[in-house]
Symmetry: D2
Subunit: 334 residues, 4 copies
């Protein structure tokens, strides 16, 4: 079987870099096109660590040009910018994995929490790229909306128990994230002096990922209580989830059975640690009960399982390749 040409639009950021690193070593995908908003540079100029490893020229992003080189395009762009590329790419016959928020939510929810949607035509046909829940739909999708990092860790942790939840009790999600989730953009909350030896909640009860979590858990918005915290860590994310469930459930057994055949879920006996999943596509999950209260701790790498490596898994599924092809499993430990 010959190589499948793929491309990345939005290669300057952290998720773009992660995609390059994985695609460079992928057994079947050939990285045939990389672009950012300005072009006229190379991968190693943008990311010095790629020198002598993968130094392709970087083009100014152009849908037509992309479609000429590639069967599938990864969009690693901010929301709103992404939808302007999805439309022409699909028209030109490319398949798309979109890492932005643009196609994750139904129209009404999206416009309430983000902005006006400019591609109402394709929005209803996008598939939410959480393989454990939508593997079959992903396989035949033209457009996959890659989940947000917080929803990935929260949904993977809570979903197996949702049927046992006591009605109308809230699901508390106290999330902790590394700073790379905020991207390369400079801001007061990414300044080293502000973050180092510090920790704080941000957008408590008001983060845009909360409706995405509620929607895919199939519960009401107001039943998701979501508070993210910024931690002095580069990459990694833990969602500590508290649910009220039927007391007679054996949570650990239930969890193990639910994910029995999943290659990228590990049910662990000790509380999960950020570092054990850093650099990989794994989601590690730990569960413990106290009466009706369930404590679930779910860890991912926000840039991998929360973005780029999950995008790659989706692309593998779309192209009928083995799901694990080129997907990283060796953690950045120690």
């Amino acid at each position: 079987m010959s190589a499948i040409n793929v491309g990345i639009i939005g290669v300057s950021g952290y998720t773009g870099l992660e995609l390059v690193k994985m695609l460079h070593q992928h057994p079947k995908f050939e990285l045939a096109y990389v672009a950012n908003s300005e072009g006229g540079t190379t991968l190693a100029e943008l990311h010095p660590s790629l020198a002598r490893v993968c130094d392709l020229p970087v083009s100014k992003a152009d849908a037509k040009e992309a479609s000429r080189h590639c069967e599938l395009i990864f969009l690693a762009l901010p929301h709103k910018t992404a939808m302007a590329f999805v439309k022409p790419l699909l028209e030109l016959g490319c398949r798309v994995v979109d890492l932005s928020a643009d196609y994750r939510l139904p129209l009404e929810l999206y416009e309430k929490h983000y902005t006006k949607h400019t591609d109402k035509e394709n929005l209803p046909h996008a598939v939410y790229g959480l393989p454990e829940l939508f593997r079959k739909e992903i396989a035949s999708a033209a457009l996959v909306a890659n989940p947000g990092c917080f929803p990935t860790s929260a949904i993977l942790g809570a979903y197996p128990f949702i049927s046992k939840r006591i009605a109308q009790t809230p699901i508390i999600i106290d999330a902790k994230t590394g700073v790379s989730g905020a991207g390369k953009k400079l801001s007061d909350t990414t300044h080293f002096v502000h973050v180092n030896d510090n920790l704080f909640a941000y957008n408590p009860l008001a983060h845009r990922h909360a409706p995405e979590i509620a929607h895919y858990l199939g519960i009401e918005d107001q039943d998701v209580v979501f508070v993210p915290h910024l931690c002095p860590v580069t990459r990694g994310m833990i969602s500590s989830i508290y649910m009220q469930i039927d007391e007679d459930v054996d949570a650990k057994t239930m969890l193990k059975m639910f994910y029995e055949h999943e290659p990228f879920i590990r049910i662990v006996d000790s509380p999960v640690e950020m570092k054990n999943v850093a650099g990989t596509n794994f989601c590690d999950i730990f569960v413990k009960q106290q009466g009706k209260t369930l404590f679930i701790s779910s860890a991912i790498d926000n840039l991998e399982r929360g973005a780029s490596s999950q995008a790659l898994v989706n692309a593998n599924i779309m192209m009928h390749l083995p799901e694990e092809s080129g997907v990283p499993t060796l953690a950045y430990v120690p």
Copy 2:
């Protein structure tokens, strides 16, 4: 008014060092005795940063010797070790602020969660040293049991709302702590390589501070759901608290009124940050509501408000000095 002689037993650890730093600059207390388990050294040998600042000789701990020099003794010792000193010190007429867990709980609870108690005589007379709740009792106490760090941040955050709590709903306390809380002792979980760029829960739903929290909130053990997390931070602690309360409560006003005259509580409008209280006795509290769910974020310095500076406030109260005397308020920022 002349100086009041005080002493510290257990001066080798972090909380001992913090006490030295504060007492060295205190306007009324004179540090007349410092001891550890071995003696034969000096403060600057134990803590090089004290060179040329406060370099007293360190004695081998001895109750009689301590009582000869001091009216009040701070015990910065592990639990179980502390009670062996409390008994003779009280007999010799010293007043005591005990930073260990030995006198925080009623006998039955203590023996269930710690070990056999060897000073049943004094245990019932100890006063729990949380000034906002027990100021009057502290003033006349011979023995003050200084609260644990987690209970301090959790109780200060939750207590004002406890009367509005919906019956039988759990109080979720998702706590984040710096590594200094684990003390100077070497262990796998304090190794830099393990902690750096990492984060994890430990003793989830099984930490010994949970019954202390429940007891002083006046609720059932099983209604406190307590999960501490270790963070790559030296000092600082945030308790993220989730409670179900009457929807018609105006939480922020209620909180402000409750702590209106408290010198060391700050109600803040943005989510609390660890660094803003580092090095100080402040407890910063933020609150926000979503339907019946209350989110409270309560920040302290685990070594100060969670141990040493709170001990100093208790000593000030016991000696009828102004509560703020020598208590640090200037944060380690930036």
Copy 3:
């Protein structure tokens, strides 16, 4: 003796904050005026950790207004901005401690490394504010040029040995600094993700502090080999200095004698550590010899001894107060 009114122009940055923290507790100075470039705010809005501690209104910087309230002004401004204030302040009879680079160098050197100087009148009368070398001149100065952080640590380490240096051999200064030295300004090199778990040299052999070091050591520019490195630390600076000296010198004795009566120099027996001086005005110095090569390790807090606390010492000297008044000596340890 009544209070002496002082003010700070440039109160938004880190060094401004440090000055506020020290002046707030100073036994003789009264903080009577604080300003930044825009005004219309308060200290606690700029620096939330100051809430309930020191919440003065912040004015729009104005020399006349400042001189009306104060006898002495601290300028915590960028170079070039500072000299525009020095001139009118001196005319209005204020004494000035300038934390910028504007008056540290002779005209020719300054204009070569910085920019055109607009206050040639006052430049020759400024005194370099390194108390160990210029205490007497500082006492009677109207204008003190507060040294840079790198020069402070390098000069204090190297100066005692300069007379024993082997002619024409270079002095190697390999400096390591925390990120707060770069200020609050956002830049790629202060982004948490760039700095965390990283370390690198910057401006090697081309940093503007090199000529300042050479000038006050009294040696040729080309004989100072200066390479600063950025480290994942908030505050702290170590200069590792390598010199060629006469082999028969007993370096440690020489060092101890040189600084025998200095209150803020500590000669230590083990290699210096950043944390032992963090938050203080101390300069810790360690020295060791290998043949003709001398290794000196000199540690300061870049924001304190490298800026604000040294400025306060200078102000104390200028006002004939005890040099240690209100100067911090208790380190941010642990």
Copy 4:
């Protein structure tokens, strides 16, 4: 070509883990034997991040058993322990890459700086495993002594210029290392609270790696001035090297030519950064001149190029495989 069986003795530590991670994905080597001092466990029990990735049973180390399964053994053991295995392994026909210090130095030097040597027979035949200098000798060696991390970064930086060095001038090596270099062992200097926000020199002018550096640079011990510093970083090492050389040398051109055909050396135009080589076998080198003084900055990952990945390169060369087989080049960035 069929697989080549290899094994690791000493699999509990950081360098053992790194070897497992690389060998698990190696195209030709098959990891057929892993052992530590006690056995009776599995890789995932020792290193939880290996769960579901590579979970071999771990044996109690035994030379005979090892030789039965493997053609080549990696020894990731402390010095002194290693030589006890080298002898029997060589006798049993295994080839060995020894990551300890035991075979790096001539007898006299070794016994002076370490301990009595118990395998004088094999010591003279060991080849020093720095491929850029000894590629040919490695190819036919039965025993390769893998270089220390400090010597690797220092020698690779300084060697190209050694012929231009001005006689009898010292080479200053100011090294900065991450904490993983100290291993998993608990000690005061690996405690998070001690290291975080700190930095300090250790064993200045007295580190055991200094004679190794001098020996392979071919200069006198006293001409190497070596001071390592511990930094709050998990992995990474930078050697800042200062040499006196002929002024008419064009250092950058000389450096580029020297390493022209080397796959794992990158000559860079901006100062090297630890993170750009983290997780890889690259050594990044930057050079700049000021008169006769040369500043060289050389960065490696202390666990990879400073230990495990360099060991793998040596094994590849010994087995006549392509040098780059299975050797990591994608950095842990961001």
